[in-house]
Symmetry: C2
Subunit: 339 residues, 2 copies
């Protein structure tokens, strides 16, 4: 099959690799319908993480072509959505809604999903079948549910976005934009998008943002305070993963408020004393997307939400290198690869 391989920072190629095969009886094999490039794939692309001949990708939707002997709920022919960690969905941690920390989790990134086929371990606990074969127009939204929407949704839930709340979102990438969509669906009263890119601002407004703040850092914090009677937002989503974004998120939150952080932290260090005196709640990490998938699929199927709008460029898998380049140069927010 054809598969995306990153040989070194900046060096992405599509190569012929062996088709995946069932290894565990709980595995499924899927034929990808679509996959995409994640903001986190840019860390190694830019040399900020070590990389050498790595298969890429952890977002996926597609059709099941084969299941192991122990798979009971997922069937060949199902159109399915999964996420970046597989999970048994039965352990105590999964039952508490933290499937991304499942005691039997495996990372989908290990074998890569920017490919024609993928093996999905823990198939029953990981994959959620759609009610039928989706129309082509629904595929981008279902793919978004696989990671960015699920992650943005978790961030909004972690930040306790809801009725009566003012929510601020730090980060205008696909996850931040998805968090705005989630906050809207969760009933937030006011949603402040922190963005200085006109096209992302426009999508933020489409997704329900009521205010745009272009300032960053201390100025951004000051502006959020101004907009919230000097107190700060009730709920703040951090969807970047840098020290500056984390500081901005914590400082924009009122005492007793909630920060939901989902940007993969790189070289971030939180000063204990500042955190102590801030009085905020902090929660985040790799999103337990599986918790939200049934609801997200339903909303997408009913066309109540259109999270696929975060994809502003679609390319065939074969042109993955171009996709990485365009995302790296910030000429696209999120690139969908058709398979």
């Amino acid at each position: 099959m054809r598969q995306v391989v990153m040989h070194a920072p900046g060096d992405v190629r599509v190569e012929e690799r062996p088709d995946p095969v069932l290894i565990e009886p709980t595995d499924a094999i899927i034929k990808l319908a679509a996959t995409c490039i994640c903001g986190s794939d840019l860390w190694p692309y830019r040399g900020a993480e070590r990389v050498e001949d790595a298969v890429m990708g952890h977002e996926y939707v597609g059709v099941v072509t084969e299941v192991g002997a122990a798979v009971k709920d997922i069937e060949v022919g199902d159109f399915v959505v999964g996420s970046f960690f597989t999970s048994d969905n039965t352990c105590e941690i999964c039952q508490a809604g933290y499937q991304s920390h499942c005691v039997h989790r495996t990372p989908m990134g290990g074998e890569g999903t920017q490919a024609e086929y993928a093996r999905v371990p823990n198939a029953d606990g990981t994959l959620v079948a759609t009610p039928g074969q989706p129309g082509a127009d629904l595929v981008p939204s279902l793919l978004a549910a696989s990671d960015v929407l699920g992650t943005g949704w978790f961030a909004a839930v972690a930040a306790e976005a809801g009725p009566g709340k003012t929510v601020a979102v730090v980060g205008d990438g696909a996850v931040g934009l998805s968090a705005i969509l989630a906050a809207t669906q969760l009933g937030a009263e006011r949603i402040i998008a922190m963005s200085r890119h006109p096209n992302r601002q426009a999508l933020a407004r489409d997704f329900g943002a009521t205010d745009i703040v272009e300032e960053r850092g201390d100025d951004g914090v000051a502006r959020i305070k101004e907009l919230t009677g000097g107190l700060g937002a009730h709920s703040v989503v951090e969807a970047v993963g840098t020290q500056a974004a984390m500081d901005q998120a914590i400082r924009s939150t009122r005492a007793g408020g909630h920060v939901g952080f989902v940007g993969v932290s790189h070289d971030v260090s939180l000063p204990g004393q500042e955190l102590f005196f801030s009085g905020v709640h902090l929660h985040g990490g790799p999103a337990p997307v599986r918790r939200f998938l049934p609801d997200l699929i339903r909303l997408i199927w009913e066309r109540a939400i259109d999270p696929g709008a975060v994809f502003d460029l679609t390319l065939p898998l074969e042109d993955a290198a171009e996709g990485y380049r365009v995302m790296d140069e910030r000429r696209a927010t999120k690139v969908l690869l058709t398979v």
Copy 2:
């Protein structure tokens, strides 16, 4: 009046100082019945915080002797309990239960409560009157409510201690012990006290601890994991304020679990990436004791709890220097000063 002054690290004296007077119309003056020495008073005593001719103390119970013209709910003659931050109890932050971050808060430590009298700003929003004049046996417990019990209670609530939960408590000082008492009252299923001091272990058991872990650091974490099926505790209280204690607390918590941290963080730095992948909830800071005072006073009044047991030494105010010395040398957990 007589008042405790710390002239320099290790140099505590009781001196003659002017009686406090009403400054704002919302002030009250109280005659202290008892006050005490806080673990946080030991930071400057040990030279870990700068100190020079500072009046000391922020815990207090006593009788109101004078009220300002704007005070409506508190009356002269009331026996009252307050906490270390005053609060208006009406602002948006107070109404959300975060009175220690009130927009009009003032620190009681600024004028000191290790004294015969104290001025309490924001009297109506800060002080809670007991149902009548307490018997002498209730005074230590009411004084505990002023800080350590309220702080331990907040820590247990922040850690979401409750039915079905396994709660671990890092720190066996008065706050940690109070958190154990709180977790018991909140209905926790299992409470693990981390302590290697026999007398503190005994009090921990009196307060409801079901297990004692003597190991610290990585060994302590491993022991908590062993006791919790490899997952970690649902709820962990950090009641120390050091890097080691914070690391131990976060690492002892299962993914999706809650850390309540109330030790005043000194030189603590949290690595973002570890926090991210831990998947825990983190919440803490200066406890909004006022939120809990009415309930705590009721429980004490009904003799349902005996938090005053954390005081293992009682001295007259005049012997404050001896009290500091004994606490510094860990020969007492918590020293009550009678006034």
